[in-house]
């Protein structure tokens, strides 16, 4: 049987190949995951990616994968029909010089979990960057969602680290959630092995 091709870093010039439009190609994905007309609660997510000394990464790429407002994924392994063909569920945003990424999307609905459980609304995240040799998977959950308490994945995370996976509403900006990603140090973000 063939064996896996190993992962390598995206390197510092990731924008050339992974930021669409950089070479004139039509953009089919980017930081806007949901069109304005899509059903659901429209939100924005903004955060910074920080290294072990708290220095922002200007050369990281955040990718997101999420369900629609009813918790359905645009993928045959889900199979439930979607309300809109325009929703594909994928987002990608490089960090800027201050290490900031910004997405515009909808809050996903609860998603089926293992053994008839239900997963709380969440967005699946990959962190890629110069100096990151393999994809770092994490998740964004939403502060105040009562479903978090019964989420089967959060339950696997040590209690004192769960807060690193919770996006917080910005009190000054309605609809904006803040979610920083810390690769190391105090409050290091939880990354998953699936």
């Amino acid at each position: 049987m063939p064996q896996r091709t190993p992962s390598q870093t995206v390197g510092p010039y990731l924008h050339l190949g992974l930021t669409q439009g950089a070479f004139g190609a039509p953009e089919v994905f980017g930081p806007v995951v949901a069109d304005a007309g899509l059903p659901g609660t429209h939100i924005r997510i903004e955060g910074r990616v920080l290294d072990g000394e708290g220095v922002p990464l200007p050369d990281a790429l955040i990718e997101t994968w999420q369900a629609d407002d009813k918790g359905r994924y645009a993928h045959p392994a889900d199979g439930r029909p979607l309300a809109s063909n325009s929703f594909r569920g994928f987002g990608r945003c490089p960090t800027d010089k201050e290490g900031i990424f910004r997405f515009a999307t909808i809050k996903p609905g609860p998603v089926p979990g293992p053994r008839d459980s239900t997963q709380a609304p969440h967005i699946n995240v990959s962190v890629l960057a110069r100096g990151v040799l393999k994809r770092l998977p994490t998740r964004i959950y939403f502060a105040g969602d009562p479903a978090n308490a019964a989420d089967p994945i959060l339950a696997l995370v040590p209690a004192d680290r769960r807060d690193t996976l919770i996006a917080k509403p910005d009190p000054a900006k309605p609809g904006l959630f803040r979610f920083d990603i810390r690769l190391q140090g105090k409050d290091e973000t939880v990354f998953f092995d699936a």
Binding site: L14, D51, Y73, A77, V111, L133, K134
Partner: protein, 233 residues
């Protein structure tokens, strides 16, 4: 809950912390990864295919008015999973420096010439058999500041989705016999020599087009299915 995707092949990947590649030191997680089951969130993933890519995007030598400088090459191969099955209709994004070892990127300050006829980025989608092909210029080696007199071996970056969030792969394709291999901490971040060899394409005379371009084959293997557990009774 049984795994849908194999975990054993993950051993081919480099560790996140590979101190000879200095940028990993402050960017590799220090806490253990949290082991989780493969839920609907993991076994689904973005699907992008032929409708999202224009036919010309697979030829990096024809994106400008003139011909780029350098050695024209054809790279082709198949995208497979660990069970040997083709991965059809999956998006492959590619990017690279030019023949002189320079990227069109504001942070690349290597004093080698830019090529007005070469951008160094393209996209291609695998066909029903998992096959892909693109035409480009052989990239040059270039210096970087990881350590004194550090040079990257010639490489092309490739990014693939595959059928799920778990099959996502970003890698680099290297060229056979590169004298810089022993000195490159990114290539050598993959600790198993056999796994490193799977990042090196091979020259192929059949792919080579007479009077036009050298041909290379590079098969890419994504994460595949977990072994089926034996029936219990």
């Amino acid at each position: 809950m049984n795994d849908i995707y194999s975990r054993t092949g993950n051993a081919a990947d480099p560790p996140s912390l590979s101190p000879d590649y200095r940028s990993t030191v402050l960017r590799a997680p220090t806490r253990p990864l949290v082991l989780i089951p493969q839920t609907l969130s993991e076994i689904t993933g973005p699907i992008y295919g032929h409708a999202d890519v224009l036919p010309g995007e697979a030829d990096l030598t024809k994106q400008h008015a003139g011909e780029p400088q350098g050695e024209r090459i054809i790279v082709q191969g198949r995208v497979l999973d660990e069970a040997g099955r083709a991965v059809p209709n999956t998006l492959v994004e590619i990017w690279q420096c030019n023949a002189a070892g320079r990227y069109i990127h504001e942070t690349d300050q290597h004093p080698a010439p830019l090529d007005p006829n070469f951008t160094g980025a393209g996209r291609v989608v695998t066909d029903e058999r998992g096959h892909y092909q693109f035409t480009t210029i052989k990239p040059g080696a270039y210096p970087w500041r990881n350590h004194p007199n550090a040079w990257r071996p010639a490489h092309i970056h490739l990014s693939l989705f595959g059928p799920s969030f778990l099959t996502r792969l970003v890698t680099q394709m290297y060229f056979p016999g590169d004298p810089l291999f022993p000195f490159d901490p990114i290539f050598n971040s993959v600790t198993d020599a056999r796994a490193r060899a799977r990042m090196i394409c091979r020259f192929d005379l059949e792919t080579t087009r007479p009077e036009w371009a050298l041909g290379y084959i590079f098969d890419i293997v994504l994460r595949g299915p977990a072994a089926t557990p034996p029936d219990s009774d």
